[in-house]
């Protein structure tokens, strides 16, 4: 079950090596994203696109806000 996290927890997880993924469309990612985030838009998220991620490391996903 995905774990909801807040800002402080995100910073801690990143310091420990978590992977950060923005799931918004590419244009929104290019305008503005968290440092170190990669972009896998939700519409393209499948086993193939997720190969960019390492399975053994925690993953944090985010979008703009509670939308």
């Amino acid at each position: 079950m995905p774990i909801p996290v807040g800002r402080d927890e995100v910073q801690r997880l990143l310091a420990e090596g978590a992977q950060l993924v923005e799931v918004l469309p590419q244009a929104e990612y290019e305008e503005q994203h968290l440092p170190g985030a990669i972009n896998i838009p939700l519409k393209t998220l499948d086993a193939e696109s997720a190969r960019r991620l390492e399975r053994g490391r925690p993953v944090i996903v985010y979008c703009h806000d509670y939308q």
Partner: protein
């Protein structure tokens, strides 16, 4: 959107997936860095010209606060609670009140504030429209981060626009 992405990743086989539901709006509103073509360098948070903003508590007297504000070269003072949340503002006229009046009696409550993630051009536009010389900048939970000063913000915006135009022109050259 991110909850669906988190569940999708789990369905693909990722065992530890975290969902930062508040997302980049929350991140930026706390002044944390953002990258991209409209990243932190285009946002108010990068241009806080005063972080040492004179501040006071509700129960202080105007005499104490005025002395402190003048020593800091300011004619305004922000009223904060112990958590640093902005409760009010003492402008020039309020600061000039009777010595023994309390800050709570003299302050203007609930001053307008902006987040550090606001785009600089929007903040400048707002200061021009409302004829403001400064804008207090707070996190989204109301904690004071600093002051954006209009003159400096306008200069920074001109520089940003010049840099953007230069980049565009370099990109369009054969």
């Amino acid at each position: 959107m991110s909850p669906r992405a988190a569940w999708r990743l789990e369905s693909i086989g990722f065992s530890e997936v975290h969902d930062y539901i508040a997302g980049k709006a929350d991140w930026g509103s706390f002044g944390l860095p953002l990258e991209g073509t409209r990243g932190s360098e285009t946002r108010v948070g990068a241009y806080l010209h005063r972080r040492d903003v004179p501040a006071c508590r509700l129960d202080e007297s105007l005499r104490e606060v005025r002395t402190r504000a003048r020593a800091a070269g300011s004619d305004t003072c922000f009223v904060l609670n112990p958590e640093g949340v902005v409760l009010g503002r003492l402008g020039r006229a309020a600061l000039a009140g009777e010595d023994d009046v309390s800050v709570e009696q003299a302050m203007s409550p609930g001053p307008s504030t902006v987040r550090p993630s606001l785009e600089l051009h929007r903040a400048v536009e707002r200061m021009r429209t409302q004829n403001l010389t400064t804008l207090p900048v707070t996190t989204s939970d109301g904690r004071l981060l600093g002051l954006l000063e209009r003159d400096a913000a306008e200069r920074a915006l001109r520089e940003l626009n010049c840099n953007r135009a230069r980049t565009l022109s370099e990109g369009s050259q054969p």
